[in-house]
């Protein structure tokens, strides 16, 4: 309907040219000034995300795969989806001990195993780009190697967070890393497990996405 396009644009243009819209400069100072100290940031991320039922686990660069495995075993997970082509995926593969939950590779299009993903996977593991102190959010850039559904379909989402990858605000993340120069297929902020308050304002977790979100803080 290209005539809709031209008539809409022509009408908007004529109206605007007849009466320009008065604007005021956008002053981002209020966002620029939201700052926390390095220690405060992690503390704040934790506090805000815990308030919406996110769980935190501490680990080190050395032991995080073992920490994740132990956690998932405790949680009763039998199958764990992961991204074998990522750095974290390689670590998981090489250090996953026998006898724990089974690792399932996300290395083919979802169309080939949709049913299995929806019905047979207990947990998914992803990396993050960091976390945001202002709102208590994880930043994820899914990719060909680390697909989007890893953090959505499995009932438990394990998110790996490097303890020094912390930002003050969402605005800071995107301006400092120049997101505007090239956005990925999908960029995400995740601030807790899936939730709803649609039944009489009563909070319930795990409505469509993960029921549990576990942030593994790696130092």
């Amino acid at each position: 309907m290209s005539d809709a396009r031209s008539s809409i644009l022509a009408s908007l243009r004529a109206s605007r040219d007849a009466h320009p819209v008065e604007t005021v400069a956008s002053d981002f100072t209020v966002l620029r000034e939201k700052r926390w100290g390095p220690a405060e940031r992690l503390e704040r991320v934790k506090r805000m995300m815990e308030a919406v039922h996110t769980e935190f686990v501490d680990a080190t660069e050395q032991d995080w795969p073992a920490v994740v495995q132990a956690f998932l075993k405790d949680a009763g997970a039998k199958t764990v989806l992961y991204a074998p082509a990522t750095e974290a995926g390689a670590r998981l593969e090489s250090s996953w001990a026998d006898g724990g939950p089974e690792l399932v590779r996300y290395d083919r299009p979802v169309d080939e195993f949709k049913e299995e993903m929806f019905t047979g996977i207990d947990a998914g593991i992803t990396q993050t780009l960091g976390a945001i102190a202002d709102t208590g959010s994880l930043v994820l850039w899914p990719s060909a190697d680390e697909p989007r559904l890893l953090s959505l379909v499995p009932h438990i989402h394990i998110a790996l967070l490097k303890a020094d990858a912390l930002y003050d605000t969402f605005w800071q993340v995107m301006t400092e890393n120049r997101w505007a120069e090239g956005m990925p297929t999908n960029a995400l902020l995740i601030s807790g497990p899936s939730k709803t308050a649609d039944i009489e304002q009563t909070l319930a977790y795990g409505v469509h996405g993960p029921k549990r979100l576990i942030v593994v803080v790696i130092r």
Partner: protein, 474 residues
């Protein structure tokens, strides 16, 4: 009245008689108001954020045609197909055409107010396509064949008992329970199957970024991510005012939106979509379509004052704070958008003949103006529409539709009385002498006194009393 089926006055009176409904709204709105206030406890921050939000929206409106072209250009480059629709019929036809081409039988929907404007579900159903609402609130009201009663919390008019009963009646596998976790779990099971099998996902858009061709969506449940990631085709519908210029404009808009709407610092998910599945990627839709809908918006944009309606970011805070909305609830408006924003938006979209009553359902208390995160002068626009309703003119559809000779005559008489000292003196003398004797059941007076005490005229006028004290007439 030309539209007998839409009678706001009648629907409001009925709603006011329903104590359960009033209790549900009162409780919900009180909670929302106090939680929102806590989110903006730092008043300096609130003022700066709000000024920033308003500036972002004004800048977008000032370049609206260029930004829409830029959005189209960048989306197209990213692989998103852009469609334009002047009317909701055109938008529905576009959606249907895509569905038929991919042979779709089942669509899953994320929450979208524009799709409510389009009555998209009913339209698709007519063409044999099942469209399932996946947002829990929308799912609940879809089961009950209702309209949303709030733009953020569509099922806010129902309590848990009512929902428990509804699920029992409408979902095969359901047993009666008032446990919210169990009710939610049931919806999860039913809807996960739908996500898995859907041919098309339909969503709205909270902000579309011209600079990068990115569609931003906020939500808590994950249904928005499901519908935009799992099905092979994603169709996004947006009103043409939803565009912002730059990516960095998104954080302030979303922050104001989520804090104002549900008092959350941010929603669980912020989902930014820039392209369909690229080669080598393992999930995401293979096709994305963006439908840009006008439906009266370009006409709203033509008026210098009324165009500020288009700043709105659909946070719903104005309804939460509206004394009228809180009492009559969302359904009384019989419109996709209720509350203050509905009262200024819907009459402009659908015309003052059909919707002339809406701008009058306002006490001018200004609560909405004080909390609107993008500083829309809602009450001022409401006044303007009241004026448009009685004066024929080009600015608003069906302007002048409510002009009444009797009302015009009353105002003429009032003006004459108040501009002539003699007439004024006579009128007040007569009223203070016999005004109180007038029965409350007199035709015009009855309208007022049916729900209010009859005003009492003082025995002597203010002028009289002043004269007694030696203050001379001017």
């Amino acid at each position: 009245m030309a539209h007998a089926e839409i009678d706001f006055g009648k629907a409001s009176r009925a709603a006011l008689q329903d104590p359960q409904l009033r209790a549900n709204f009162r409780r919900a709105m009180d909670g929302l108001m106090s939680k929102r206030a806590a989110q903006f406890a730092d008043s300096a921050e609130w003022h700066s954020m709000r000024a920033l939000g308003a500036s972002v929206r004004l800048r977008a409106l000032s370049k609206l045609p260029e930004l829409l072209e830029k959005l189209e250009e960048n989306c197209t480059r990213n692989g998103i197909t852009v469609h334009w629709a002047s009317t909701t019929d055109e938008a529905n036809a576009i959606v249907l055409e895509i569905m038929l081409r991919v042979n779709a039988k089942l669509a899953v929907k994320g929450k979208s107010m524009v799709s409510e404007e389009m009555h998209l579900n009913a339209f698709l159903e007519k063409h044999g396509i099942e469209a399932i609402e996946a947002d829990l609130g929308e799912y609940i009201i879809q089961l009950d064949h209702e309209m949303p009663s709030h733009i953020i919390m569509p099922a806010i008019h129902k309590n848990t008992k009512q929902i428990a009963q509804l699920f029992r009646d409408k979902i095969k596998e359901a047993e009666y329970t008032e446990d919210v976790d169990q009710l939610t779990g049931l919806a999860r099971r039913v809807l996960r199957k739908k996500f898995m099998n859907a041919d098309v996902g339909i969503s709205g858009v909270n902000a579309a970024v011209a600079e990068t061709g990115t569609l931003c969506l906020v939500e808590n449940e994950g249904n928005g991510r499901m519908v935009t990631t799992v099905p092979p085709v994603h169709i996004a519908v947006m009103g043409l005012e939803k565009v912002v210029e730059k990516l960095e404009d998104v954080p302030p808009v979303l922050s104001l939106l989520t804090r104002s709407a549900t008092a959350q610092p941010i929603t669980t998910y912020v989902n930014m979509i820039t392209s369909p599945r690229k080669d080598g990627e393992k999930d995401g839709p293979r096709e994305i379509h963006l439908v840009i809908l006008d439906n009266g918006r370009s006409k709203i944009y033509a008026d210098e004052e009324l165009r500020h309606t288009l700043r709105c970011i659909r946070c719903g805070a104005c309804m939460n704070h509206c004394p009228v909305y809180t009492r009559v609830g969302g359904h009384a408006y019989q419109a996709p958008y209720p509350g203050p924003i509905g009262k200024i938006l819907v009459p402009q979209m659908e015309g003052l003949d059909k919707r002339g009553a809406m701008p009058h359902a306002c006490t001018m208390c200004n609560a909405c103006v004080e909390i609107c995160p993008v500083q829309i002068p809602i009450a001022g626009l409401m006044n303007r529409l009241r004026e448009e309703a009685v004066h024929p003119g080009p600015a608003v559809k069906d302007a002048g539709a409510q002009a009444s000779k009797a009302e015009a005559l009353v105002w003429k008489g009032w003006a004459a009385t108040f501009s002539s000292p003699t007439a004024y003196r006579m009128a007040t003398t007569v009223l203070s002498a016999v005004g109180n004797a007038a029965p409350a059941s007199l035709p015009l007076l009855k309208e007022w006194t049916s729900v209010r005490a009859k005003p009492r005229f003082a025995g002597r006028t203010l002028h009289d009393l002043a004269r007694d004290r030696g203050i001379p007439d001017v």
